[in-house]
């Protein structure tokens, strides 16, 4: 918590930050990340489903996407593949409450840059994002 408070990225709110897309079917989680990342200077868009995320992607691009695996009807891994197909340069971080070996392997195969286990430790999330974009 101290390290969060000392995060230098918080001071760059005036400058348009890097565009981050967060996809999760949990509305409160989306709110948390939106609030947390916006406070740290990122331009955050949220989507409650994979379909919604793909719709958003029609209109604009993102430098980073944080996506949950377990969603319906399209799941996170399918979305990951689609995202990487449309925008190969976009960095994708996969988050899941079920960090099975298969899920981790598939994520990397499909082009995920990082893998986080839910509940996500915000400090760890911050470090991951900073290392990617």
């Amino acid at each position: 918590m101290k390290s969060l408070a000392a995060d230098p990225s918080r001071q760059t709110s005036e400058v348009p930050g890097k565009a981050v897309l967060v996809v999760d079917d949990e509305q409160n989680f989306l709110s948390l990340l939106h609030w947390f990342l916006s406070n740290r200077g990122y331009a955050v868009e949220t989507a409650a489903s994979a379909e919604q995320a793909l719709e958003l992607l029609e209109a604009r691009t993102f430098e980073l996407a944080l996506i949950d695996i377990r969603m319906g009807p399209m799941d996170g891994l399918t979305l990951l593949a689609e995202l990487k197909r449309r925008m190969p340069m976009m960095r994708v971080v996969v988050m899941t409450a079920y960090p099975t070996g298969g899920a981790i392997r598939q994520s990397h195969e499909k082009g995920a840059s990082a893998f986080l286990t839910k509940p996500v430790d915000l400090q760890e999330l911050m470090k991951t994002i900073q290392s990617l974009v």
Binding site: M1, A5, W35, Y98, V120
Partner: protein, 629 residues
């Protein structure tokens, strides 16, 4: 050398046997010879006695012939006509003539029928004896010639009388006196062997002539031997006058009663027998001595190889199997030697076989001992596991419920908790610590974190992650654990230290699970030291095939009544700290690695947990241990 015939001291020696053999061979020969000799000697004796008898008979015939010759001369003289007329002077002249013509005659005498002398013509120095009664009866009554007894010593005489018959009537008795030389001459003529004694005795058993010592015997009664002379012809034994035991052959003249005897010393008759027997005995003794000597020499010759053989057999008996039996000069012994050699080879082979079998048995014993040890260990493990199973069974009611609960709900808690915690953390980062609500948000974050931890525990316990074994070095894990807990430790004023052995081998293990165990134990340790203390993390070798991780605190310790239960699920000392699943999870992880956890605790002194891990955990033992070269 041992005495040959001392059989009481043990079985007889070879020499004894050989000597016996020689004796057994000689004995029939000796006995046969002895029998032959005895038979031969008997035959000789018979021949001798027959000869003796023959000679005696010849001698007595000679004596009788002498008598007859003299009687014939006397009868011729008695028939002279001069006696018809009874003119003694005329007859005397005729008598002188005859007397001078007979050198053996000592005198001639004429008696009337009553025994009165009518005429006595004698050679010088000779006197004639009167007629005795017996002679007179014989001659006058029976009209037969008579030979009187011998009288006198060496110059003694024998008187022979014949009747002078005229017209069948005895008118005178005519007597001639014979010197004893006649009889000595008869004996001399026979030319007897030197040691034979010829004797002539008259009808009164007075010696008339004798070849041996006549000067002391003639005219004397016969010696003890001839005193027993019977009539007729006979051979008998007895002692002579000189005391010599002798054989005597006697022949008695039937009419005159005189006897002739030939005496042979018994030594001469049986001497041959004794000499022959002595020769035989001497020869036998010589043979025996020679046999004894030969037997000894042969025995030595035989005994030498036998002794060598015996030494070989002894060596064999004492297990000296490498000595080669000697080659011997006797075929049979050589065979024995060969057989001994074969026996030695056989024994050597058997000895080798025995050694091998013994070695195998020893190996098998060791193997069985190890197996038994393993079985004992297994038994102990099984007993322990049975106890644990029993304890787990007690908790299983709760376990099943928890398992289901965690499966369905833990994740559902996770996300809301994450969100709550996220906002709380975010808020805390935004808020001024002086704000009145800052502490309240802190509490929200804290409780959310505690919930998160409980959910994590439930998740771990209810649905353990599948272990992924890799070969790893535990040192970084220990150090990382220390990093992870350093904040908490500092907050509780707990000092930390690490002690990892340098030569620690790498182990096959799941890194995350090892990390979790160390973390669980370390957090427990910090919780056990609310007033501060010292936490030590360590790692060391555990024998040659394992390592040991150590987590030691200096806290309150665990009561001995609680110790057996701390690995049971849901057993917890402090409800606020957790569900009581931390140690059961550690226990399960350790077992999944083929290891174990032990605990040692002293109240108010502290607690030490030791995690024993094998170098090759079960999961991949076969892949590492049995890789072909």
């Amino acid at each position: 050398m041992a005495p040959a015939f001392v059989s009481a001291l043990g079985p007889p020696t070879l020499r004894t046997h050989l000597v016996k053999l020689i004796f057994i061979g000689l004995a029939p020969l000796i006995i046969f010879s002895a029998i032959l000799i005895v038979l031969f000697a008997r035959q000789e004796q018979v021949t001798l006695t027959l000869g003796l008898q023959e000679t005696t008979r010849a001698l007595s015939a000679a004596v009788e012939k002498e008598f007859q010759a003299n009687i014939t001369v006397l009868e011729a003289l008695a028939s002279l006509e001069a006696l018809d007329a009874g003119t003694v002077q005329e007859f005397s002249r005729s008598a002188w003539r005859v007397l001078n013509g007979q050198p053996n005659w000592a005198g001639v005498a004429l008696f009337d029928t009553t025994g009165r002398p009518l005429l006595a013509n004698t050679k010088p120095g000779v006197s004639l004896a009167a007629l005795d009664r017996g002679t007179l009866d014989q001659v006058v009554q029976h009209k037969r010639p008579s030979v009187g007894g011998f009288s006198g010593g060496l110059d003694g005489r024998v008187q022979i009388s014949v009747p002078v018959v005229r017209e069948n009537k005895v008118i005178h008795v005519l007597t001639a006196a014979l010197g004893r030389d006649v009889f000595a001459a008869i004996l001399m003529r026979q030319k007897l062997p030197a040691d034979w004694i010829g004797t002539i005795i008259d009808d009164r058993r007075v010696v008339v002539a004798r070849t041996l010592a006549p000067e002391v015997s003639v005219g004397q009664p016969a010696g003890p031997l001839l005193q027993q002379v019977p009539g007729g012809e006979k051979i008998f034994t007895g002692k002579t006058r000189e005391g010599i035991f002798s054989y005597a052959a006697v022949s008695t003249l039937p009419y005159f009663g005189w006897s002739v005897a030939l005496i042979v010393p018994a030594t001469q008759v049986s001497g041959l027998l004794w000499r022959s027997l002595a020769s035989i005995i001497g020869a036998a003794v010589l043979c025996c001595l020679a046999g004894f000597w030969l037997a000894s020499r042969f025995a030595r010759g035989l005994a030498d190889p036998i002794r060598k053989l015996s030494e070989s057999a002894k060596a064999l008996g004492e297990g000296r199997l490498n000595e080669t039996p000697p080659a011997l000069a006797i075929v049979e012994l050589n065979d024995v030697s060969h057989n001994l050699q074969r026996a030695a080879e056989l024994l050597r082979e058997q000895s080798r076989l025995r050694d091998r079998i013994e070695a195998e048995l020893r190996d098998r014993d060791e193997f069985l001992e190890r197996q038994a040890q393993l079985l004992r260990n297994n038994e102990e493990v099984l007993r322990r596991q049975a106890g644990e199973l029993e304890q787990q069974l007690l908790a299983s009611g709760r376990l099943v419920a928890v398992g289901e609960l965690t499966a369905s709900m833990a994740h559902e808690f996770n996300n809301p908790l994450g969100i709550i915690l996220g906002f709380a953390q975010g808020l805390l980062a935004e808020m001024d610590p002086a704000d009145a609500n800052f502490h309240h948000v802190q509490i929200i974050a804290e409780e959310a974190r505690r919930c998160e931890k409980l959910v994590q525990e439930l998740l771990e316990f209810g649905r353990p992650r599948k272990a992924e074994f890799t070969e790893l070095d535990v040192k970084p894990i220990v150090e990382k654990t220390l990093d992870l807990i350093s904040n908490r430790a500092a907050k509780s004023r707990v000092g930390t230290s690490v002690s990892v052995a340098d030569d620690l081998p790498r182990v096959r293990a799941d890194m995350q699970q090892i990390q979790q165990m160390l973390l669980n134990l370390s957090l427990n340790a910090i919780d056990a030291m609310p007033q501060g203390g010292q936490l030590t993390l360590g790692a060391a070798k555990n024998g040659s095939s394992g390592i040991m991780l150590i987590v030691a605190d200096t806290g309150a310790g665990i009561g001995s009544e609680m110790l057996p239960r701390i690995f049971q699920p849901f057993y917890t000392a402090n409800k606020r700290r957790g569900l009581g699943l931390g140690l059961p999870i550690c226990n399960r992880i350790a077992k999944a690695h083929g290891g174990s956890i032990s605990v040692e605790s002293q109240p108010n002194r502290g607690t030490t947990f030791r995690i024993h891990l094998p170098i090759n955990a079960d999961g991949d033992v076969s892949a590492t241990a049995e890789q072909p070269e």
